[in-house]
């Protein structure tokens, strides 16, 4: 499975990337598979090779609204790095998905064993969180909605 140059792994040095990938194994999910539930134990994470994963939120009495989708090269899950290691959102495949799967405990152990590697992995995850925070802020602006002062335009 190829790994995208600008995805999650793109920010790691080749040595750190190889070390992380050595801890991975390939998995596949049919479309419509629930990968994890919000609030469940965040004991694994994935990097998408192909296909689309939707992150959703549990809302009682209605279908889970999708808040974001993740495609090729993107990290699925960061709750595994921070206590209490519980998923903040749920994840379900939208299409058939090929991914690299990592055991969270094993990766955390490697990070503790080698602080330089740990810092690099934490930095990469922080970049993902920052990008998603920025994207969320941008969406809050509702840029494509009616312009401010709707009705006063030309």
């Amino acid at each position: 499975m190829t790994v995208v140059r600008h995805g999650f792994l793109g920010a790691l040095t080749p040595a750190h990337r190889d070390r992380l990938l050595a801890l991975a194994h390939d998995v596949s999910f049919p479309g419509g598979t629930r990968i994890f539930e919000e609030g469940g134990e965040a004991d694994r994470f994935w990097i998408v090779g192909s296909g689309l994963v939707a992150l959703d939120v549990h809302v009682p009495g209605r279908p889970e609204p999708v808040v974001e989708t993740l495609g090729e090269g993107e990290l699925v899950g960061w709750s595994w790095l921070f206590e209490p290691y519980r998923w903040h959102l749920g994840a379900r495949t939208r299409t058939a998905v090929l991914a690299r799967e990592f055991d969270a405990r094993q990766v955390r152990g490697a990070c503790e064993e080698d602080p330089a590697f740990g810092l690099a992995v934490t930095h990469c995850v922080a970049q993902v969180i920052a990008r998603r925070l920025q994207a969320t802020r941008t969406r809050l602006l509702d840029l494509y909605g009616p312009p401010p002062g709707h009705g006063g335009g030309t």
Partner: protein, 276 residues
């Protein structure tokens, strides 16, 4: 002011008849105009016309389609004039001046990968560019079209963009999905990982709300696309369309004349100045 621009600027609006009208979204419609008599000089993708709703006023509208003497515009109803133009029906007449402004200059991009990034109604001025590229696919490298919209029912030209897949990689994302939406959800920049382009040689064409343009262009530069190879279409309040009134001034630029399409090299420092 000299030559053809001076002639265009001084010319009165010419009457064009509404030949077709299609509702795209609840507040957006696409109208096809044909000249009643004399036609305006040819438009190129990226340029705009001043379209006059008689008795109400005129506004700048990019061409969203060019077909011989016919002009196509996509108009979103946000005020009195755009509301009047949005509401026109086949057989009615409007006034048109133009062509104004700079175009996307696609003809300069032979052999290069083309990356088109559109947000919301920003797809309208990019549509003739995509059509021109698809009509001459062998002339260019790979074509990727990334489209962002507020919701699935606000996506423009959905029937047409589905057909673009035959010659281009077309990816679409929305901010607010409907329950039955099975595509991407998120900002348009998240699609860049799946676009097919060589950053060292590709040319990007970007149009949409200004924060979306900034985010996209900055991300493209981060990925290695030269700022000179990123063309963005900027919007300011255009009034005269002829570089006289100054309403559309952005620093040293009069966007109705020097724009709307400019390189990111030129645009970025100006967009960082709050006073502009």
């Amino acid at each position: 002011m000299t030559g053809a621009f001076a002639e265009t600027a001084a010319a009165p609006p010419l009457p064009y008849r509404v030949a077709q009208r299609r509702t795209d979204t609840p507040d957006t419609a696409t109208i096809v105009l044909e000249p009643v008599g004399t036609a305006l000089p040819p438009f190129t993708p990226g340029q705009f016309a001043m379209v006059y709703a008689f008795g109400v006023g005129d506004i700048p509208l990019s061409v969203s389609g060019i077909d011989g003497r016919r002009l196509t515009h996509t108009v979103r109803a946000v005020g009195a004039i755009s509301g009047a133009l949005h509401g026109v029906r086949p057989g009615q007449t409007v006034g048109v001046r133009g062509p104004f402004g700079t175009g996307w200059e696609l003809s300069e991009e032979a052999g290069r990968d083309l990356l088109v990034v559109a947000g919301g109604i920003g797809l309208a001025p990019l549509r003739p560019l995509v059509r021109a590229a698809l009509a001459e696919l062998g002339r260019y490298g790979r074509l990727s079209v990334l489209i962002g919209a507020r919701s699935p029912h606000e996506l423009l030209y959905s029937d047409e963009t589905a057909h673009w897949q035959a010659g281009a990689r077309v990816l679409t994302t929305v901010d607010h999905p409907a329950p039955d939406w099975m595509g991407d959800v998120g900002v348009v920049t998240t699609l860049l990982d799946r676009a097919v382009f060589d950053p060292s040689t590709a040319t990007a064409f970007v149009c949409g709300p200004e924060p979306m343009i900034r985010a996209t262009a900055d991300e493209l530069v981060h990925r290695g696309v030269a700022p000179d190879r990123i063309r963005v279409s900027l919007e300011r309040t255009m009034h005269c369309g002829t570089g006289h009134c100054g309403h559309c001034q952005l620093g040293p630029l009069l966007l109705c004349r020097d724009g709307p399409v400019v390189t990111w090299t030129r645009a970025r420092p100006l967009l960082l100045i709050r006073e502009l």
